[in-house]
């Protein structure tokens, strides 16, 4: 799947990916992954699938999901060892080209592809690739798999995933129609290079040392290159492909000790962007509040990186327990070893209590945190690529992003609490106090005390109330403000308001719900009232006045 997404990005098409997992026997499963990417030229297919470490992107310095070329060929090998069934690959590179179907295995002794069959077939896709692998497995990780797809969909909002698991099918729809820009490869930075890479580059070059440094590395000018030559004790004119390993080592040390400006970051990285993260999260998690932050790009040990984070609150999130943490590296969800990951450590290190969120190590409550680290070389703690290593430069960026989002969430929460308080007060004053008045008047055996003066004094607003008694619905609008108002009352319920003592200006029906609208002018400190036979319920709204000057209370609730 990661390969499919990478391929679509390179070809600048909106990914449309199909995944199918079917049980074919006891503990045997057939996996199909199909994409609409650019396809693979037939000559290359056997190598991509049938040779370990055939990484097409191994030496490129840009942000990609896959890197070393281990994943897919390892899967082919695993299938071969557990089921003995060869992997079937169909690929097509364009409308004018026919689709090719291969059956592939790996010659284990030599790590060379073993093509069992290769034939031209009919295929409905114009371009794309389809891989069918059959191996031994279980469905115990089904929940994790669906989570993986859901999270992948969050950070790839331009992609559509269709999934068939046994007999169930799921679709993760795309919310963005924009093709994301494919990251452009840059030259390696002298501070971010390893010996093996330098040796390979040197061997492949016929340039002189100075030119090799200037042309082969980013941000190295003639002056800097000369400084490196001097430090390494090498002549600027020496041919690099003749340098012995010992001298290359000196050269590498010199390259890394000379000050070089940070590598360019804009083209080689492809952050998701604040807007798309928000849309992606909105799509998969229904929350009350979402905010995202893309930090400016930065560099560690010569590798450009950018940190993105998002925070979500409320809605359908679990109100109790630890916050959900979604971790991504180059748009790939990290599913395992949450505890060992630098992201988790950063989340724990932020003082969430300062943002009105409870915390026990991790923040608690209906909180979702997303952290995406994009880099030309994401530092993982191990080869399984489950957890991001603790790199101070990256951690600093993560913490800054989270703090920034925490502040935004705090603003949201305090505004929400203020609204809640105002609503709570309105409910007390408009609904409960009249009931206290009724009961108390009954106890002391005196006439019913009128509580509208209390309302008016406290609220200084336009107050609309609706209640039902003896089969009659009454709507009352009190203008406690200090100015005359012209407003409309919208009353939506199952009652049609026939027989109202004041007929609505208009009334429409939809699915058994009637929308009744009254328009009127209410001078200050006066009351407008309508009564009609009905059952009440539904919803009431006032339009034509600012939100902070009105209060709507349904007394039946």
């Amino acid at each position: 799947m990661d390969n499919a997404l990478d391929a679509c990005e390179e070809a600048q098409v909106l990914p449309d990916i199909y995944i199918s997992i079917k049980k074919t026997g006891p503990e045997m499963f057939r996996i199909i992954v199909e994409d609409n990417g650019p396809g693979i030229v037939p000559k290359q297919v056997p190598f991509v699938y049938g040779k370990l470490l055939y990484g097409s992107r191994f030496h490129q310095i840009r942000q990609t999901r896959g890197q070393q070329g281990i994943g897919i060929s390892a899967a082919v090998l695993y299938a071969q060892l557990t089921s003995g069934i060869p992997t079937v690959v169909i690929s097509r590179t364009g409308a004018k080209e026919p689709a090719h179907q291969f059956e592939i295995q790996i010659k284990i002794e030599t790590n060379e592809p073993d093509v069992i069959s290769d034939k031209v077939v009919e295929w409905d896709r114009i371009h794309g690739t389809r891989v069918q692998i059959e191996f031994k497995s279980t469905m115990s990780a089904k929940k994790k798999l669906l989570e993986y797809l859901k999270y992948t969909s969050v950070v790839n909002p331009h992609a559509r995933f269709r999934v068939e698991l046994d007999d169930e099918s799921f679709t993760f729809e795309r919310v963005s129609q924009e093709v994301i820009a494919c990251p452009v490869a840059i030259q390696p930075h002298p501070h971010g290079i390893e010996f093996g890479q330098l040796k390979r580059m040197a061997a492949a070059s016929d340039e002189k040392l100075l030119d090799f440094l200037v042309n082969g590395f980013s941000r190295v000018g003639k002056k800097t290159a000369q400084e490196m030559c001097d430090k390494a004790g090498l002549k600027a004119t020496v041919k690099v492909n003749g340098l012995p390993a010992e001298e290359l080592k000196n050269l590498l040390a010199a390259m890394q000790s000379v000050a070089v400006p940070a590598p360019p970051t804009t083209q080689c990285l492809s952050p998701i962007g604040e807007d798309l993260i928000r849309r992606g999260l909105d799509k998969e998690f229904q929350m009350d509040f979402v905010s995202a932050r893309t930090r400016p790009s930065s560099v560690y040990s010569g590798h450009p990186f950018v940190v993105e984070a998002a925070i979500g609150y409320g809605g359908r999130l679990e109100p109790e327990g630890n916050a959900i943490i979604l971790r991504f590296a180059n748009r790939v969800p990290l599913m395992y070893q949450q505890g060992a990951c630098a992201v988790t450590e950063c989340v724990s290190n932020v003082n969430w209590k300062a943002y009105n969120i409870s915390q026990q190590g991790l923040p608690l409550g209906p909180v979702l945190l997303l952290v995406h680290v994009a880099s030309t070389n994401v530092p993982f703690t191990s080869e399984s690529k489950d957890a991001i290593a603790s790199i101070p430069e990256i951690e600093k960026e993560i913490v800054l992003a989270l703090q920034d989002l925490g502040r935004e969430l705090k603003t949201f929460l305090s505004r929400r609490d203020r609204n809640k308080l105002a609503e709570d007060r309105a409910r007390a004053v408009c609904a409960v106090i009249p009931e206290i008045a009724a009961k108390v008047s009954e106890i002391v055996e005196k006439p019913l005390v009128d509580t509208t003066p209390i309302e008016g004094r406290l609220m200084k607003k336009l107050i609309a109330k609706k209640w039902t008694t003896d089969g009659n619905v009454t709507i009352e609008v009190n203008n406690y403000t200090s100015s005359d108002v012209e407003i409309s009352v919208y009353d939506i319920s199952a009652d049609n308001a026939a027989g109202a003592d004041m007929p609505p200006a208009f009334s429409t029906e939809m699915d058994g719900q009637f929308t009744k609208v009254w328009k009127m002018a209410i001078p200050k400190h006066t009351v407008w009232r309508v009564t009609y036979p009905g059952k009440g319920g539904g919803m009431l709204d006032i339009r034509g006045i600012e939100d902070n000057k009105k209060m709507v209370v349904d007394l039946d609730v």
Partner: protein, 362 residues
């Protein structure tokens, strides 16, 4: 106070609350009520009456939020309910009132606790015990056995009862409302209130009441209000020594404290419910040592509770400091029935006579 007087006082107090709210609302004010803060930080020792009472920290409850407004609404409904009960001369249990509130719509109680708490609030505000509202507690009172006569008004007319001659072996059951109980006369030297039924039965079976002219009272664990009120009245009316005999662990010492000094939950009623003259008989930590009683190790919670008692003003006497520190040193606790290890007669023949002599009671 007679029943009629109490009823009249209750009615007047409740109507006073309702009238105050009526006047507040008539004047365009949000109804409110002020109550003492009901936490242990607002409990003070009253030198004159020698009991613990609420201090003068008050909190004002104003119906300005949905929560407090609903609380006041519930209070209004309870007042209305009690008014009807008083007028019709009926009574109900707290639990019955909780079920009756089902029909009160918005004023309905969420849980039994809520109605109990609200009734306590009303007791505090009106200075009338709940018996005056014709509200009965759920659990029945404990029992008493000994040379005393009481007159109980029953639905079949007043009954004169001798608490040895006219009752079975289980004793006289203390009614929920002891206000109307008349303490006629007695032939007792002292009263022992016991935590466990086992010890109560042991003393009756061994004839301890006859031999020493003792009134025996079974507290049934944490004592009910009616038991505490009866102890208070016996102490005041007959001026008899009151002795409390419990297990030898920190939780049982608190039973003694609630009899002698009152509980936080009912600090507003301390003058009626506490018996400051009550003395602690045992089981003392020194008894565990002196009689080498079978014992259990103190748990961490026990140790915690003992340490809390060391800082509790109610236990701030030389006697308690010595006993509690001794217990912490021993690291042991014993039940009062552990005396059985020395024979069934040991407690009545040896321990109690010795201890009562030491206390100067016999």
């Amino acid at each position: 106070m007679s029943k009629e007087e109490l009823d009249a006082r209750a009615m007047k107090a409740l109507m006073g609350i309702a009238s105050a709210w009526y006047d507040q609302m008539k004047g365009g004010e949000i109804p409110s009520i002020s109550l003492p803060t009901r936490t242990k930080y607002n409990i003070e020792y009253d030198d004159a009456s020698e009991v613990w009472k609420y201090g003068d920290k008050e909190s004002l409850r104003t119906a300005a939020t949905a929560k407090t407004a609903t609380h006041l609404l519930k209070m209004a409904y309870v007042i209305g309910f009690v008014k009807t009960q008083l007028r019709e001369n009926r009574s109900s249990t707290l639990r019955e009132m909780y079920y009756i509130s089902e029909g009160w719509k918005r004023a309905k109680f969420g849980a039994q606790d809520e109605s109990n708490f609200l009734v306590e609030d009303l007791e505090i505000i009106s200075d009338v015990p709940r018996e005056g509202f014709h509200l009965r507690p759920e659990e029945n009172g404990a029992s008493v056995y000994g040379p005393m006569r009481i007159r109980e008004p029953t639905r079949r007319g007043p009954k004169l009862i001798h608490c040895q001659d006219d009752v079975g072996e289980a004793g006289y059951s203390i009614p929920n409302n002891v206000e109307n109980l008349e303490l006629v006369d007695h032939d007792a030297k002292f009263l022992i209130a016991m935590e466990t039924g086992g010890m109560y039965d042991r003393l009756i079976e061994n004839g301890f009441d006859e031999e020493y002219n003792a009134i025996l009272l079974h507290l049934k664990g944490q004592p009910a209000r009616s038991s505490r009120r009866l102890l208070n009245r016996i102490s005041q009316t007959w001026n008899l020594p009151i002795l409390v005999f419990t297990d030898g662990d920190p939780w049982s010492y608190r039973i003694y404290a609630s009899v002698a000094y009152g509980a936080i939950k009912s600090a507003h009623m301390s003058e009626l419910l506490a018996t400051p003259k009550a003395q602690f008989l045992g089981l003392q930590p020194s008894d565990i040592r002196d009689y080498n009683l079978p014992s259990d190790k103190l748990s961490d919670k026990d140790v915690e509770a003992l340490n809390a008692e060391l800082t509790d003003p109610r236990f701030a006497t030389e006697y308690w400091k010595k006993q509690i520190n001794l217990q912490l040193e021993l690291g042991l606790k014993s039940e009062q029935q552990a005396f059985a290890a020395r024979g069934l007669d040991f407690v009545t023949k040896k321990y109690l006579p010795a201890r009562l002599t030491e206390m100067g009671v016999i």
